[in-house]
């Protein structure tokens, strides 16, 4: 097992390094212009948001509709931190990212207290409510600009930061899922009653899933704040949470690789297709419905089987 893991790690590290070197060379020689660079950077942030939401929605199996709220907490906390201090960026920025992550983690923990008592639909509603409360509070918080928005955030986020933080998020999520903690989290999705009967402290693992997910949403928010240099509560609406959910669903719930791919595609596609933005949410909503129907309909699945190679079940189960 250890040998297998080491081999995999070597391949992964190589992929990450080669990917980075290739992309930065393309940027250096102007093949990738600043516009495309910006899109790729946003793709990295979206990967972080998607992979982290997949932990609660795909692996823990609870629908969370407040991801944008946790992202907002991270974004504002990190921005407040880096605006109030004036350290050298190389020190200040990683600290700001951590501040954003932990602020969101605390918010996630607070939300998980009432959420734990409930499951399914009610839990979804609680996370939705939490996201709205966070946004409502931010609107009324003058220290971060209220409705007018929070300006003058240092633009620390560059492509390298976004890329490597995304890599850390992917590794941490994958590694969590492959540990005993990850197995326990998945067991709750599979059958909560059987999990309890097998000695899994379901409340504890729900909290772990929740705060892990919130932490990286906050990290994503921190990167976002220092990229955009401007924050407004209006960015972090339910729409934003749904957008991230669409990425999770399209990539496949419970598949980290799928999350990465769909986050990249759904970031790049709207930018490439001019005029697509008018239809974006319409297409997303259709995609959501279609994905769910396809998942549970033999007919549609059969139809799809003709277009794409059969998905190996074991692979998704292991990821």
């Amino acid at each position: 097992m250890k040998e297998k893991f080491k081999k995999q790690l070597l391949i992964d590290v190589l992929t990450v390094v080669v990917g980075y070197v290739a992309l930065s060379l393309l940027m250096r020689f102007g093949v990738i212009n600043d516009y495309v660079k910006g899109i790729l950077l946003m793709a990295c942030i979206n990967i972080i948001l998607t992979v982290s939401l997949n932990i609660t929605s795909g692996f823990l199996g609870e629908l969370a509709l407040g991801h944008a709220g946790f992202m907002a907490v991270g974004a504002y906390a990190a921005a407040l931190f880096s605006k109030s201090l004036s350290l050298i960026p190389a020190v200040e920025f990683p600290l700001a990212i951590l501040v954003g992550g932990f602020a969101a983690l605390i918010a996630g923990y607070i939300v998980s207290i009432p959420a734990l008592r409930l499951k399914g639909d009610y839990l979804a509603i609680i996370t939705l409510a939490a996201g709205e409360i966070i946004r409502n509070i931010l609107k009324n918080l003058d220290i971060v600009g209220g409705t007018k928005g929070y300006t003058g955030i240092p633009g620390y986020t560059n492509f390298a930061w976004a890329y490597f933080v995304a890599v850390i998020c992917i590794f941490a999520s994958k590694s969590l899922i492959q540990s005993r903690h990850g197995r326990s989290i998945i067991s709750i999705r599979e059958d909560e009653i059987a999990a309890e009967a097998s000695g899994v402290d379901t409340n504890r693992y729900k909290i772990i899933g929740f705060i892990f997910s919130a932490f990286f949403a906050g990290v994503g928010g921190a990167l976002y704040a220092h990229y955009l240099r401007f924050l407004q509560p209006g960015i972090f609406t339910l729409n934003k949470s749904i957008e991230i959910l669409v990425m999770v669903v399209l990539g496949g719930m419970g598949s980290i690789r799928g999350s990465i791919i769909s986050a990249v595609i759904l970031t790049v596609l709207p930018e490439m297709l001019r005029g697509f933005s008018d239809y974006r949410m319409l297409v997303y909503s259709l995609a959501l419905i279609f994905m769910m129907l396809a998942k549970h309909s033999e007919k549609i699945r059969h139809l799809l089987a003709g277009f794409r190679p059969a998905v190996k079940r074991k692979e998704t189960a292991h990821e």
């Binding site: 097992m1 990850g182 326990s184 059987a194 097998s198 189960a317």
Partner: protein, 254 residues
Amino acid sequence: MSNVVLEVRDLGINFGGLRAVDGLNIDVEKNQLYGLIGPNGAGKTTVFNMLTGVYEPSDGTIKLNGELLNKKKPHEIARKGVSRTFQNIRLFKDLTVLENVLIALDTQADYSILTGILKMPKFFRQEKEMEEEAMRLLAVFGLDGDAQTLARNLPYGKQRELEIVRALGTHPKLLLLDEPAAGMNPQETQNLMDAIETLRNTFDISVLLIEHDMKLVMGICEKITVINYGTLLACGTPEEIQKNPQVIKAYLGE
């Protein structure tokens, strides 16, 4: 008295206005194979649900080796040494056979989240131990060859067996089996009976089982309690139960 593993006294539960179980006493001794039988709707599964903390009893006490289990959460009870299977199989269907068992074996590992995420040496050591233990348990039912199969792809009989293996994963002192032979053919039932006896002896545990298959119950149980409408009807050895006129009446009707 010290020989008693599970001691149930005056157990009762109300569902709304309905008294589903009332004044039930059960004593399961160490290493005993104990049968709990009764007509449909007699409250057998409800008793299991109370023993495992899924339902909270309205009154009475449940003790495991003298320790009170009432009000404990299901996972705490599982870790104390009571584990169970379900009437309608409840496996982690999209996980592999091995992973199903590993989840129950979690009790024997203690590496932290950070150790797990950073994949420190302790992670590999404990995961290896868990995997070996899981394979050992799976081998009891000859399931070790299916370790990498998804649980949902196992044939029905093997799914039932896997559930028992998973239940063994928490290292129970008392194993509760809810209709383990349901849906099995006579040959499979016979194999199951042998397997239950074997695992009782190898793992030195007590087994309390609910079963409809009279042959299985009478064949392997050393002691039997019969309940009807949630109350005790009879208690004794298989021979005594078979001769008991009240039991015959409850089963055959008047």
